[in-house]
């Protein structure tokens, strides 16, 4: 019985502490809005930046990937790349890491008796690899495989405009064009003798490609259409991949390809991936710096708020001391208020911060970010620690308050 009462009374002491602390916050709410706002703004920027910080590598990775392929895969030896090998390469890298994966088959054709190169590819994938290509007209697609993209160089030499039709001519697969000028092996000479078949086809200019690079000298067509035209199955000369990966990951992927798919020979496009890492590193350092600055500013504003609060509540503090409160108890109440402020401001900030990060991400990268649930406890904990740390000096002022002097004045 005695024990029971004691327990109950102990509970009520804690309960009264909470009542006082929360009562102070709730009934003085208008006074505390600024403090909560300061913390909430700090927490918003912090949690927002952290959310972006974690998303930047992914975001920027994709962004960088849009500046072209970062992995070129060639066949090892004579044999070309089959569809099965392409499939196993795709599986090995993993669909979630692939931004674009475009196989290319190069075929020499003639237009007006002049040699040109047709690049057969998966146009949709090629576009994902190279969204920065400047296209006059439209990208080619599967709705009309006879409407194709030509390089700007070709368009100029042949004086072709959008909508113009031109004819390509060539020799079917396994045949050798007369004007190839190559030294022929005995076997090939024999083939050549058995059957000679030519192809020709009219194509319409749907888009003109300007890249400032070699692409301007190619005619881009759908790879299946090209295979049909030359009478062969899928055989790619090269696969251009755009993968979300930093230099290390890319090296890992390369060596895995070499090991698991011996028919292939991967080559990382080093310059791009390295500069990507440098930019990423710098950006993350910048985010870190801003975060630290924000934390310091938050601490300063909490410090000044708490300082003002202690000054403003000198009488109340003096009264509590006059009623017999030890310094320790009064300080624990003020710190309790600080903790509560930190929790409220931090919680508010997490959600505002996510909103902020989402907006930044949508504006800068054009896509959303995932909400990290871990950010809630982490941000709140960080801001509780910050408010407590920033409150220590102001709260210690309690010790300098002499009740007799403070309570005497009108």
């Amino acid at each position: 019985m005695e024990n029971n009462t004691k327990k109950l009374r102990h509970g009520s002491r804690k309960a009264f502490y909470l009542k006082m602390v929360s009562g102070s916050l709730i009934r003085r709410a208008s006074r505390l809005i600024i403090a909560v706002l300061a913390i909430a703004i700090g927490a918003t920027i912090l949690s927002g930046l952290v959310a972006i910080y974690y998303d930047i590598p992914e975001q920027l990775g994709r962004e960088f990937r849009s500046y072209g392929a970062n992995l070129i895969v060639l066949p090892r030896g004579e044999a070309k790349i089959t569809r099965e090998i392409l499939k196993s390469l795709e599986n090995l890298i993993g669909a979630n890491k692939i931004v674009g994966m475009a196989p290319y088959r190069y075929q020499t054709v003639k237009i007006n008796e002049q040699p040109y190169i047709v690049a057969g590819t998966d146009l949709a994938q090629a576009q994902k690899n190279s969204p920065f290509w400047y296209i006059k007209g439209e990208w080619g697609d599967l709705t009309d495989v006879d409407s194709v993209m030509i390089g700007n160089e070709i368009a100029e030499t042949l004086n072709l405009k959008l909508g113009d039709v031109f004819m390509i001519q060539g020799v079917k697969y396994g045949e050798q064009a007369e004007a190839s000028g190559q030294n022929l092996s005995a076997a090939e000479n024999q083939k050549r003798d058995t059957a000679r078949q030519n192809f020709h086809k009219n194509l319409k200019v749907r888009g003109i490609v300007s890249t400032g690079g070699a692409e301007e000298g190619f005619i881009f067509v759908d790879i299946d259409m090209l295979d049909d035209l030359i009478g062969d199955i899928f055989r790619a000369d090269v696969i251009e991949c755009s993968i979300v990966a930093d230099a290390n990951e890319l090296a890992n992927i390369s060596s895995k390809i070499e090991k698991d798919i011996p028919e292939l020979q991967p080559r990382a496009v080093r310059r791009l991936t390295q500069s990507q890492d440098i930019v990423l590193g710098k950006l993350q350092a910048l985010v870190l710096l801003v975060t630290v600055v924000v934390l310091i500013i938050t601490m300063i504003s909490v410090y000044t708020t708490m300082m003002a609060m202690v000054a403003e509540r000198r009488r109340e503090i003096a009264l509590k001391k006059a009623l017999g409160a030890e310094n320790r108890l009064v300080m624990s109440e003020l710190l309790g208020e600080g903790v509560l402020l930190g929790i409220i401001g931090g919680a508010l900030g997490v959600f505002l911060g996510f909103e902020f990060a989402l907006r930044v991400s949508l504006n800068v990268f054009g896509r959303g970010i995932n909400f990290q649930w871990l950010l809630i406890p982490v941000t709140i904990a960080v801001f509780v620690v910050i408010t407590v740390a920033a409150s220590i000096i102001p709260v210690r002022k309690v010790m300098d308050i002499h009740p007799a002097i403070v309570l005497k004045g009108e």
Binding site: M20, G23, A325
Partner: protein, 234 residues
């Protein structure tokens, strides 16, 4: 003979060249009702602060409940004050964000355990039961002072100290508060009140007059004590 609850022996409080209290000797019996009067600056507040363990004398000894408190440090003065002293202030000093009953419970909280039933009882005694859940801003000055008295008494102190407790009250409320003092006196509470108001000073059993930090008069009013009571009782 009544038990001595408080004794000041050659107490002085010196601020630089100013003697706020000069060689004060005073003893108070348990259950006494003492009023302290005197002009402004005569040392009344200084004296009551020293008795109330809010301040220490520069010279001399203060014996409270048989313990010499004159050389105690701030922490133990706080403890002694919590256990033995009930304070009432001219400006009430209620915590603005706590209700009346919570303000009473604050004193319990720092003393031992908050107990709402007990706090309500104390408010009932000063006639404020129905105002218990109001914030100070919603109470009149007289009501606020009654909350203060309930708060001062909640831990059953040995001495109730008031520095101008009726200084901010109108006559009506002054009478209510003095009435409460009278009841407390009947219950055996030792009361020491600083006042400017002769009427309030006259109700006490004993009145001392301070001037320039010295007791210049010590008047035994026990003869008229009953009369004053009657007078006020009307």
């Amino acid at each position: 003979m009544a038990e001595k609850i408080l004794e000041l022996k050659n107490v002085s409080k010196i601020y630089g060249s100013l003697k706020a209290l000069a060689d004060i000797n005073l003893s108070v019996n348990a259950g006494d009702w003492l009023s302290i009067m005197g002009p402004s600056g005569s040392g009344k507040t200084t004296m009551i602060n020293i008795i109330g363990c809010m301040d220490t004398p520069s010279l001399g000894n203060v014996i409270l409940d048989n313990v010499d408190i004159s050389r105690e440090n701030a922490a133990s003065l706080t403890r002694i004050r919590r256990d033995k002293i009930g304070l009432i202030f001219q400006q009430f000093h209620l915590i603005s964000y706590l209700t009346a009953v919570e303000n009473v419970m604050v004193a319990q909280y720092y003393h031992s355990m908050p107990d709402e039933d007990e706090a309500m009882e104390a408010l009932e005694k000063v006639g404020l039961k129905d105002r218990a859940h109001h914030l100070p801003a919603q109470l009149s000055g007289g009501e606020q002072q009654r909350v203060c008295i309930a708060r001062a008494l909640i831990n059953s102190p040995q001495i109730l100290l008031g520095d101008e407790p009726t200084g901010n009250l109108d006559e009506e409320n002054e009478r209510i508060v003095v009435d409460i003092f009278r009841r407390l006196h009947d219950e055996g509470v030792t009361i020491i009140i600083v006042t400017h108001d002769p009427e309030v000073g006259d109700v006490a059993q004993r009145k001392i007059i301070l001037e320039h930090g010295k007791i210049i008069d010590d008047i035994d009013q026990s003869a008229t004590f009953g009369e004053a009571l009657k007078l006020k009782g009307k």
